[in-house]
Amino acid sequence: MAISQLQVPSWLEPFARLLRGDRPGEQIVKVLRHVGLPLLGMALFLMLWQSGAAHVNTSLGQLPGPAQVWEQAGNLKDEHFAEREKAVAFYQRQEARNAERMAENPDAKPRPIRGYTGKPTFLDQIGTSLKTVMSGFVLASLIAIPLGIAIGLSGALYSAVNPLVQVFKPVSPLAWLPLVTIVVAAVYTSPEPMFAKSYVVSVLTVMLCSLWPTLINTAVGVTSVSTDLNNVSKVLRLTWLEHIRKIVLPASVPMIFTGLRLSLGTAWMVLIAAEMLAQNPGLGKFVWDEFQNGSSQSLGRIMVAVLTIGLIGYVLDRCMLGLQRWVSWDKNAITR
């Protein structure tokens, strides 16, 4: 296959053309536009940050610039691997001890291996946060999509539920959190809990806040299924379930995904706040711990966390967008 037929991502297109010698002048302008301008923006931002940070003196020392933050990012990575090595060594020690014991006295029972209790590293916290946000998001979607379809189909149900939705939608996660914490403490009292309470609290808070965009968009998507398609369904005498499965659901997929994308964005924002307050392990708790810690490195570490949170949020959004493009039949839907 010739190079000219290869499918390349749109941002690589000018490079590919440049390589092919296809109107080079035009391609260079395109490259500058698509690659040069973003790089320029980033460079300007870093310069502003560097010069601005030098003027801010805090109780924890000077506000760190990009270089210090980069250094802290490296530190956090090193700490993670150091901690991992420690954990491995910890388990090895136990096993070695057990083996020794067995060698001395073959009848002795091997001691159970104890779990490693070192503190979670930055990377661990990222993992925890991702797990929590996905749990909350999936839970919210499982409630919001069916409920949205029901509301979209029934005008009466819509009238009944709409005021509630409008009132609960703008409630901040910080307001839900104390309520959720207390209710979970009262209700979730199994002696051997499957999940930690703080995890349940975070997941429920995330769910309560990220429910609404999916709910509303699904309902709107279902309401706007065209009359003609409904008439087709009637002429074909589709049963209620078939009508939903074959007409309503596919017709509202683009709107449902718009809602899901908004919901995931909200979920991620809410999660950080919830983790900070609920002391649930995760990025939020990391930020809070560093804030309480107040060492000379703390500000740099918090900034690493801020950038990581932003980056992960961006990646999550892109993933949803990719999924939307893949699943949705409406390729013209706004997908930016």
Partner: protein, 310 residues
């Protein structure tokens, strides 16, 4: 001649904020098997309402529709509808759109292979073999309408209902589809009720043209039997005195007897759908020009139609 479909004393009233609005009054029509009947009239006269009552999408206030001795009171595939704007499911291919209908109608009657054959046969009838695995957004407006017709034909309806099937198409595409439809009719001899605002289309395709008076309380004004030999050829007919006589009859009814005054006109359709050719005498062209001055009336009629057709 025994009637297959019997519309008797059909009237319909819609509730509005300003009290009941009588759209149709005492519509009576008998249609024989294999007959091709066109409904023509000015926009807003209730042609679509008649069709929707036959389809079962609307319920007559008084009177009723009997198909083969059974009263019609809900929609069903034996009265398949071809909608004006194709109404294909945009996420399915042409084949899958027809398949949805076939699976629904012939469930338990046809085997998987028979269904496939039947779907392909119907798509072949409308000359869509080459694009049957394309989705609606990948094919032209005329092709979409072809698939819409194939879907309706595939339900093997007793009566095929067509609501301005070619109304949204350009003149050339429309002529192609009319020819295709005549060809299909020669083969299948379906019973058809078609709504149109195109006089040439009505004369060319129909066995009878049912001309409706203006609403409110619209009813059947005149019925014109078209006794032209089939197969009909549009070029040969252009100079045929008999053909031109029929055309004039319909035009006379529409523009002399049922001439719309400004206060009785109700432009229901947006002008964009009135894409009739310059050579085609069309009722809609005049409507679109008049509908601007008829805001007051159309404001009453439009929401009504939308609401109840829904």
């Amino acid at each position: 001649m025994a009637a297959l479909l019997d519309i008797t004393g059909v009237s319909i009233e819609f509730k509005t904020d300003k009290g009941p609005f009588k759209a149709l009054d005492n519509v009576n029509l008998k249609i024989a098997e294999g007959e091709y009947v066109s409904l023509i009239g000015h926009s807003g006269c209730g042609k679509s309402t008649v069709l929707n009552i036959v389809a079962g999408l609307l319920q007559a206030t008084t009177g009723g529709v009997v198909l083969e001795g059974k009263e019609v009171n809900e929609p069903g595939p034996e009265r398949a509808v071809v909608f004006q704007n194709h109404s294909l499911l945009p996420w399915l291919t042409a084949y899958q759109n027809v398949e949805l209908a076939v699976k629904q109608v012939f469930r338990g009657q046809k085997s998987r292979a028979e269904m496939k054959e039947w779907i392909e046969y119907n798509l072949h009838l409308v000359h869509m073999d080459h694009a049957m695995h394309k989705r609606p957004d990948e094919i032209s407006g005329g092709m979409k309408q072809r698939v819409g017709i194939a879907r309706a034909l595939a339900m093997q309806p007793k009566v095929l209902l067509m609501d301005e099937p070619f109304g949204a198409l350009d003149a050339l595409t429309r002529a192609h589809l009319q020819d295709s439809l005549m060809e299909i009719q020669r083969e299948l001899n379906n019973t058809v009720i078609m709504i149109t605002h195109d006089v040439d289309e009505a004369v060319l395709l129909s066995d009878r043209i049912v001309m409706m008076t203006n609403g409110p309380a619209a009813t059947i004004g005149e019925i014109l039997s078209i006794e032209l030999d089939r197969p009909r050829d549009r070029l040969a007919l252009a100079d045929d005195p008999q053909y031109n006589h029929y055309r004039h009859e319909v035009l006379r009814f529409l523009y002399e007897k049922q001439r719309k005054t400004d206060d009785s006109s109700a432009g229901r359709k947006p002008p964009s759908t009135n894409t009739s050719a310059a050579t085609t005498a069309s009722v809609a062209d005049e409507d679109s020009a008049k509908s601007v001055t008829a805001e007051s009336v159309s404001a009453v009629v439009t929401p009504l139609h939308k609401k109840h057709v829904a």
